[in-house]
């Protein structure tokens, strides 16, 4: 499946590092649907800056630890 964004993320790993938090729990914490969390994790949707900060705040890590953007052009 084509990924429409070059932004990658470590949400899945962070969820497991935080007591195996479920996608539904994370979705509730940031006020979105579980499908949106799934779409972000799979790189099918780039969240807004505000949502990105909310996700980072849930895991109490800097934004860079959650989302990454490759330096080189593909």
């Amino acid at each position: 499946m084509a990924k429409p964004t070059k932004v990658t993320n470590s949400i899945r790993a962070l969820r497991f590092a935080h007591g195996e938090m479920t996608q539904a729990e994370l979705a509730d914490r940031i006020g979105v649907t579980r499908q949106t969390v799934i779409a972000i994790e799979q790189g099918r949707y780039s969240p807004s800056l505000e949502m990105a900060f909310q996700i980072a705040r849930v895991f109490t890590v800097p934004l860079d630890d959650v989302f990454q953007y490759p330096d080189t052009e593909e």
Binding site: K3, G31, V32, T33, Q35, T36, A39, Q42, G43, P47
Partner: protein
């Protein structure tokens, strides 16, 4: 499947099914007939009404089936909805050129009304498909 995606499926299916039945019924009478004699107004208004009711009923059923998701709409749903509406607007704008042209050449009301109805249906269907693709493949 999010409620927004379900709603898009409902919209796409109702737009397609109702319009196919309508056009099969009405355009089936065209060969060899005088179009001014074909009663299309009542079937068209019925088709529009049925599509609206079908949408409402199917949405209520979807809500009852999974009430937890029904009131949830986040920024992704809004962006996908906006994208679908945006594409749908361009589609209806282009398709509306057909009834406009038919009106200019003083074609029968039958053709003008039906091409305009088709423009709405194509727009609604395209808009729904764009949303479904955005939900499934991302954007």
């Amino acid at each position: 499947m999010s409620f927004g995606e379900k709603r898009s499926w409902i919209y796409a299916v109702s737009a397609l099914v109702v319009s196919v039945v309508y056009f099969a019924t009405v355009l089936g009478q065209v060969p060899g007939a005088d179009v001014t004699k074909i009663a299309y107004i009542r079937p068209m208004l019925t088709a529009i009404g049925v599509a609206v009711v079908l949408n409402i009923v199917a949405s209520v059923v979807a809500t009852i089936a999974s009430p937890r998701d029904a009131d949830k709409e986040d920024e992704r749903d809004k962006e996908i909805n906006r994208l679908g509406q945006h594409i749908g607007f361009y589609v209806v704008s282009v398709c509306a050129l057909v009834p406009l042209g038919l009106a200019m050449v003083e074609a029968e009301h039958f053709w003008i009304a039906n091409s305009l109805y088709l423009a709405f249906v194509v727009s609604a269907f395209t808009s729904s498909i764009v949303k479904i693709v955005a939900y499934r493949r991302g954007f």
